[in-house]
Amino acid sequence: MSDAALLEVEDLNVSFPGRGGITRAVRNASFSLGRERLGIVGESGSGKSTTGRALLGLIPAPGIVTAKRMTFGGQDLRGLPDAEWQKLRGRRMSMVMQDPKYSLNPVLKIGEQIEETYRLHHRSSQGEARSKALAMLEAVKIRDPDLVYHLYAHQLSGGMGQRAMIAMMLIAEPDLLIADEPTSALDVTVQNEVLRILDDLVTDRGMGLIFISHNLTIVGSFCDRVLVMYGGRIVEELKASELAAAKHPYTQALIKAAPSLEHPLAELAVVTRDPAWLI
């Protein structure tokens, strides 16, 4: 957090009107992001993914997004017309989703998909785009970029697919990357490799990263700061290194609920929910 904040959000609200009334998926969330790794943790339904999507303007109708302030690099994101969003998304901010199987195009070669992203945002010849795509595949530690370039999504393993996704998202060199559970579908040993790639990108390029996950161990060891969400609200914001000293009872309960290898317990702590957390 050396320079001015890349992203500033104040009182972000996302609600979905439905038959049973309005569902408030995100309530009064305020935070800022510099060129750092910000983690968002919470259980399913806590609004962490919705927050990520709202930042990219990806909340589908009839969802309603309101905020007192939502700026990205000084630009106001509220009420931005679609054409303006198109210029931002992909080029300056992008998102990596959980499962590469569903987010890659099954009928296009991996290399073509990556090239397509580049050519959408940069005027370039086909040859230039191609060499850029190959370089990007190499940057995400794919051993044989020439081979992977010509493969289809179903021919890749989970870890490879996720790396290809990251390559595609990063070829336009965005300032902000939102990673929504990027490693949850991967094996632990592969997970570390993917995280290391993301880590290098933040360090080398000065990118801002929002890392959405339900896994406290990973967020605690990977991110700089952590937001803990519960029922659409940010209940606690703290440094990742101080996660063990969390003050909010929900954060404490989440930490205790995970079985630990070093500290065996006869009975795991169960999260008792206090309705007051929602107010």
Binding site: V188, D199, P264, V270, V271
Partner: protein
């Protein structure tokens, strides 16, 4: 209770055969809880399926309760051993109520006193009678997994096979389900085999743990040795390091 000797499972008989499990041997004593960890594709679930009689081993390699057992099982043998699957969303029939799902095994095995048994099974897993006539989509993920556990236990099996029972659930719900499993295990003195990719979960429930890689058994460790990282195998060490989350330096 369960003896696995030189178990091999091969898929695909034409073209390129895939050796999912290669020469795996272990034994699980009565009342013991055994764990299997490994990454995806390591063959851990296939071992469990072979024990349950859901896949064919290459040759006879199993003894359950002292008797050699292949894929074909008598009704009594099937009753001895029950399975809880990973995904509670997929393992319950979407158009059957909880009551239907729990009633079915009792009907198949022609047991008496079905109504009372179903009620008791629900109470056992901490569900209230209001859940009895609900459909799976009306339940949360944790509640569905409770139903799956109730269905497995309703026949009073002596062996419970658990394939990643909590990996589709949030940590807080996982804690509840793990507590439930360990309580039921004690109450019914179950022999169990738990498969998971999460070392914490396996160490919490099991006393001995097998580590699998690429279809082969790397080693079998006692839970205390695992907790203290007392292992000679580099792969086990790698898994232990990875379970502590992200590390910046290249291992």
């Amino acid at each position: 209770m369960i003896e696995v000797t030189d178990l091999c499972v091969t898929f695909g008989n034409s073209g390129r055969p895939i050796h999912a499990v290669r020469n795996v041997s272990f034994a699980v004593a009565k009342g013991e809880s055994f764990g299997i960890v490994g990454e995806s594709g390591s063959g851990k679930s296939t071992i469990l399926k072979a024990i349950a009689g859901l896949v064919d081993p290459d040759r006879l390699a199993l003894r359950i309760d002292g008797r050699p057992t292949g894929r074909w099982r008598s009704k009594a043998e099937r009753r001895l051993l029950q399975f809880v699957f990973q995904d509670p969303y997929a393992s319950l029939h979407p158009r059957q109520t909880v009551d239907d799902a729990l009633r079915e095994p009792l009907l198949i095995h022609k047991l008496a006193d079905i109504d009372a048994e179903v009620g008791r099974a629900l109470a056992d897993v901490g569900l209230s009678p209001v859940h009895r006539y609900r459909f799976p989509h009306q339940l949360s993920g944790g509640q569905r997994q409770r139903v799956a556990i109730a269905r497995a236990l309703i026949l009073k099996p002596s062996i419970l096979l658990l394939d990643e029972p909590t990996s589709a659930l949030d940590v807080s719900i996982q804690a509840e389900i793990l507590n439930l499993i360990s309580r039921l295990r004690k109450t019914y003195q179950l022999t169990s085999i738990l498969v998971s990719h999460d070392l914490g979960v396996v160490a919490h429930l099991c006393s001995r743990i097998a580590i699998m890689k690429g279809g082969q058994l790397v080693e079998i460790l006692g839970v205390e040795d695992l907790r203290r990282s007392k292992t000679s195998q580099p792969y086990t060490r790698e898994l232990l390091v990875a379970s502590h989350g992200f590390t910046r330096t290249v291992a």
